[in-house]
């Protein structure tokens, strides 16, 4: 590619295009084509072998009446509604504590961040054993304070909340770090002025810290929510979607339809519906948050 001098002569226009060419290829192959094909698949029945069979809107109708789909959406929402507020609030509080006069900040920060780095698969396997009803160490500890064995992952009412707790444990360090970075950008004199006015810690927190942290807050909230909708490997490893499909997440359901039953058309339909729900939630979140920020 001996075109360096040629590029300078013919102007910057060509250079730009050349540099962006890899992206064009990438976009076409891995984003545009799949999107279009996904859309096409929604109207067909296809098991990946043989021809596509046109079925019109029947996948949509099936989706509407599919109790498992709605259960998966409900489960995913339960996960998000437990995991996100828990994670964000605890992370903010922890970050605030770490931001004050505490020794060994670095060590604490590193400790909280450790689970973030480890693979979700390893964490899930670890917690599968911790959550074991009769033998797990969590119930062993609780037994010492008189709390009976809790069926963390074998009871349909407990399973998804347990996964939400585990996910919080895993990711919270990241958000502590993000909040910490945001907190460190708040000018000290704001707090000093508040002290002079006699504000309590709680007042300072809600009137200075929280508003100042808003941009980070929005990012954290949206990232957490998007992450919540991607829930897959945890239910897959620990419960396989059970008990009684209480941990069946949206993505796990897509996976099951596509790779257990080989219903590509239907799986694509679920994907579309899920994406639509995700976009809606994100838009509502942003509207709400940006409104709050004013």
């Amino acid at each position: 590619m001996n075109s360096k001098s040629g590029k300078i002569r013919s102007g910057k226009i060509n250079a730009g295009h050349t540099l962006v060419t890899p992206y064009y290829i990438f976009f076409t192959l891995f984003i545009a084509y799949p999107l279009i094909f996904s859309f096409v698949l929604v109207f067909h029945r296809w098991s990946i072998i043989g021809p596509l069979e046109w079925v019109g809107l029947s996948n949509f109708f099936e989706l509407g009446g599919d109790p498992l789909f709605w259960k998966a959406i409900l489960n995913t929402l339960i996960f998000i509604l437990i995991h996100v507020p828990l994670q964000v609030s605890v992370a903010l509080v922890l970050a605030a504590i770490l931001n004050s006069k505490i020794p060994a900040k670095g060590a604490f920060r590193a400790a909280f961040f450790l689970p973030v780095v480890v693979s979700g698969v390893a964490v899930t396997i670890l917690w599968k054993q911790i959550y074991s009803t009769n033998l797990g160490i969590l119930n062993q500890v609780l037994h010492l304070i008189g709390i009976g064995p809790i069926p963390w992952v074998t009871d349909p009412s407990w399973a998804m909340p347990s996964i939400a707790m585990m996910a919080t444990w895993k990711n919270i360090g990241l958000y502590v770090v993000l909040f910490l970075a945001g907190l460190q950008g708040i000018p000290k004199h704001l707090y000093d002025a508040a002290d002079i006015d006699g504000a309590t810690t709680v007042q300072k927190f809600f009137h200075i810290t929280v508003p100042a942290i808003n941009p980070v807050f929005i990012v954290v909230l949206i990232l957490s929510t998007l992450g919540g909708f991607s829930l897959f490997i945890e239910p897959y490893v620990i419960t396989g979607g059970g008990p009684m499909n209480s941990t069946l997440s949206g993505v796990l359901y897509i996976y099951r339809q596509a790779f257990s039953f080989f219903r590509m058309g239907y799986a694509a339909t679920i994907g579309f519906a899920l994406a639509a729900i995700i976009m809606t939630v994100i838009i509502i979140q942003r509207r709400f948050l940006e409104h709050e920020a004013d």
């Binding site: 360096k4 001098s5 300078i8 910057k12 060509n14 250079a15 730009g16 540099l19 962006v20 890899p22 992206y23 976009f27 192959l29 891995f30 984003i31 084509y33 799949p34 999107l35 094909f37 996904s38 698949l41 990946i48 922890l94 504590i97 770490l98 004050s100 505490i102 604490f108 920060r109 400790a111 909280f112 961040f113 973030v116 780095v117 480890v118 979700g120 698969v121 390893a122 396997i125 670890l126 054993q129 160490i137 500890v141 444990w169 360090g173 993000l178 910490l180 970075a181 945001g182 980070v216 998007l226 909708f229 490893v237 993505v251 694509a268 994907g271 899920l274 994406a275 995700i278 976009m279």
Partner: protein, 274 residues
């Protein structure tokens, strides 16, 4: 004064308990792999005797080192590709003028919110049609670029003074030369940030390999370990399951302990920029 002292001590106590809650599970996990099977589930990480049976049993059943190599190959090549290709795109979008520049920028922004659930199945079909199933191609190609990286580079590059570029052009450097010889050395933080975040992300990725790879010799580490536990090969022996999880985590934990500051700071800076 007393009150704030007590407060501090209480806070420290609370933090310590929390920190223990974050670290002890890992200690227990590693300890469990070195205990006899019957004692694995006990609370203490120390058993009545040291035993390497869990590791022997697991390594005898699954070619974990092969999976390690696969993960390494895929993650390194993908990260390298993302660094090169995304910086190219970020540079073009940030410093060069050409028709359609804004359109591309907006498209990239749009793809960042596009949920992967939409494209998962068709992407898989594409891999099947290309014959890339069970190959490095399927594991790497869809991860050769990253919208997040492009945007990060673009932002970073926009801050480089124009004179440096002009001077370079006068010296006869073409765009590639400017990018790699001038911008890259100046952008170490961005490179490290993108590098670490992307490497970690793709190293830990399990869903995509599970979809496109079936051959045991081509599996990545998270995938192989996940299937080992779920697929019943571990025969419900807890020790070997923990051993698989431990071996899988050791590389990343070691890297983390050594490069801890970089990890944490790159995550933090990405949040701010994002």
């Amino acid at each position: 004064m007393r009150k704030s002292r007590i407060n501090s001590i209480l806070l420290l106590f609370l933090l310590t308990i929390l920190a223990v809650m974050f670290i002890y599970p890992f200690i227990w996990m590693v300890g469990g792999t070195l205990k006899p099977e019957a004692e694995v589930m006990e609370f203490s990480p120390f058993g009545s005797q040291w035993s390497l049976d869990s590791y022997r049993s697991m390594l005898g059943k699954i070619p974990l080192f092969r999976a390690l190599i696969n993960s390494l190959v895929v993650s390194v090549i993908s990260t390298f590709s993302v660094l090169v290709l995304s910086s190219m795109t970020g540079y073009a979008l940030g410093r060069l003028h050409f028709r359609g520049r804004n359109l591309i920028f907006n498209i990239i922004l749009f793809t960042m919110v596009l949920p992967f659930q939409l494209t998962l199945i068709p992407l898989y079909v594409l891999m099947v049609k290309f014959g890339w199933v069970d190959s490095y191609a399927a594991l790497i190609f869809p991860y050769t670029m990253s919208a997040f990286a492009i945007l990060l580079f673009r932002q970073y590059f926009m801050q480089v003074p124009q004179d440096l570029m002009d001077a370079a052009r006068l010296d006869g450097l073409g765009e590639f030369g400017i990018l790699f010889r001038i911008f890259w050395p100046l952008s170490k933080p961005a490179l490290i940030t993108v590098g670490i975040i992307h490497f970690m992300g793709i190293w830990n990725e399990a869903l995509w390999p599970m979809i496109v790879v079936r051959k045991v010799s081509m599996m990545t580490m998270p995938q192989m370990v996940a299937l080992y536990v779920v697929g019943g090969q571990a025969e419900a022996q807890v020790g070997t399951q923990l051993a698989a999880a431990t071996l899988m985590s050791i590389p990343i934990i070691v890297v983390y302990l050594v490069l801890q500051r970089h990890f944490i700071e790159s995550m933090a800076s990405s949040g701010i920029k994002g």
